[in-house]
Symmetry: C2
Subunit: 236 residues, 2 copies
DNA sequence: CGTATTATTGACTCCATTCAAAGATAGTGG
DNA sequence: CCACTATCTTTGAATGGAGTCAATAATACG
């Protein structure tokens, strides 16, 4: 462990209003600071954790992006979600003390850890954080409910929703809402959205012809956010 | 409020190992007993809560079944889940202090309430229950992940999974795993699974011709659980 | 008993998949 | 730095699974 890692703490982290410290007081942030293990760095393709591994804690992406992946028994990969900085993962490890899905870095990535062995401590001593973790997990439930409903919609709506959802989440984290690099292949996007990679390709072309987006390889620019948003009609 | 309602308590409830008291000690069960509001009764079609309503608490189905429903802005209903006795609902109310989805009784139903106003108390004073609630919410995340992956599979697998999932959950609750009454129309099943009602009708017929199930109106009997289970290949 | 809702069945249609082949891009080593 | 290779993307054509439409049958309900 080097000094640079130790420098990371929640107090001076730009994600403090999104990540673990959301809703906590200064004192509480100080106290979780002693619990959170500072960031670890990974590169594209490396595993943050694997399905089946023992629960090591709830994690927070500090920088970079990741995909959450489930494997069925045929060996098929299912991309459950894309994770952005400030987003938490690993809640499922709380069930039977092991992770049920894998998380893989999509690009150079760093993350912080709320270690499994301190979870009990948190429930006993930091009720505000327990509550916050609970709220986070409830939010994930809502995310998946949205995915689930969206899964019944036509391909065009699914892709539009995916792009807008990314845009919204990036904006919330201080990144550009209209211009970003998506470290996913067409294959991976299709996998995540339950569509063939050819369908993704055709739809991206269509969106470009309609001047909704511009897209060169992995660089995506949304040219008309409201019109793209209007494509998927489903709202809570 | 009548005496009969007051008689309900977690200590003598048959669902104590599934519902709120799961994993709690006798003393802790005594203490939550004072928090949990005893059962309320509803009839088919009545709302347990409506999307948009203020969060009144996390609920537990005591008897009967319910559907969890989301409405898109076109007024279309989306059945997110079917709830059985001992299952908890209303976690989403924890976000912004309101429910985001509705819950509707599918038949005569009774439920218990862990009131919203005591949630803070629980986080501060009953860490074991906080932890248990957190675990429950994490399990719901996993449920929806499973739905999400399954949503990409063909119609036959989805219906097979739905029936087996019901069977498994009923068994866990002490009901018959092979014979049950499903208070859902073909329309509702189709809605939940993202299929047309005609598709449900055709598939149920097919399953019957293959001697996998027998089904007279709402009464379903699974004749060959292993073979029905083998239809959906996806496993965690 | 009659009416409304729900279920079945068939015919046709369409959206997205699959198959196939060519084109673009990125990464590697000489 | 360029050539070479592997991977990824685009595009077209054909196929198919599930949806839609429609008409009839069965069931539930007041």
């Amino acid at each position: 462990m080097n000094l640079k890692q130790n420098n990371v703490n929640c107090k001076n982290c730009s994600l403090d209003n999104i990540c673990f410290p959301r809703g906590l007081s200064q004192e509480e942030i100080n106290s979780i600071n002693q619990i959170i293990r500072p960031k670890q760095t990974l590169h594209r393709g490396e595993y943050i954790f694997r399905g089946g591994e023992t629960f090591k804690g709830v994690l927070a992406i500090k920088s970079g992006t990741a995909k959450q992946v489930s494997n069925d028994f045929d060996g098929n990969e299912h991309i459950l979600n894309i994770l952005l900085p400030g987003e938490l993962l690993g809640f499922d490890g709380f069930i039977n003390n092991k992770y049920h899905y894998s998380a893989i870095a999509l690009e150079t990535l760093s993350y912080c850890v709320l270690p499994a062995q301190s979870m009990d401590d948190i429930f006993y001593k930091v009720p505000t954080l327990s509550k916050e973790l609970f709220r986070h997990s409830c939010e994930r439930i809502n995310d998946y409910k949205e995915f689930y409903v969206l899964g019944k919609r036509p391909a065009e709506e699914r892709l539009a929703h995916f792009l807008i959802s990314l845009s919204d989440r990036l904006k919330k984290r201080g990144f550009s809402a209209s211009k970003f690099t998506l470290s996913l292949t067409r294959q991976e996007m299709g996998n995540h959205l339950g569509l063939a990679l050819e369908t993704i390709s055709r739809l991206l072309k269509k969106f470009q012809q309609e001047d909704l987006i511009s897209c060169k390889s992995k660089h995506i620019e949304i040219l008309d956010i409201p019109r793209l948003r209007a494509i998927f009609t489903y709202t809570e």
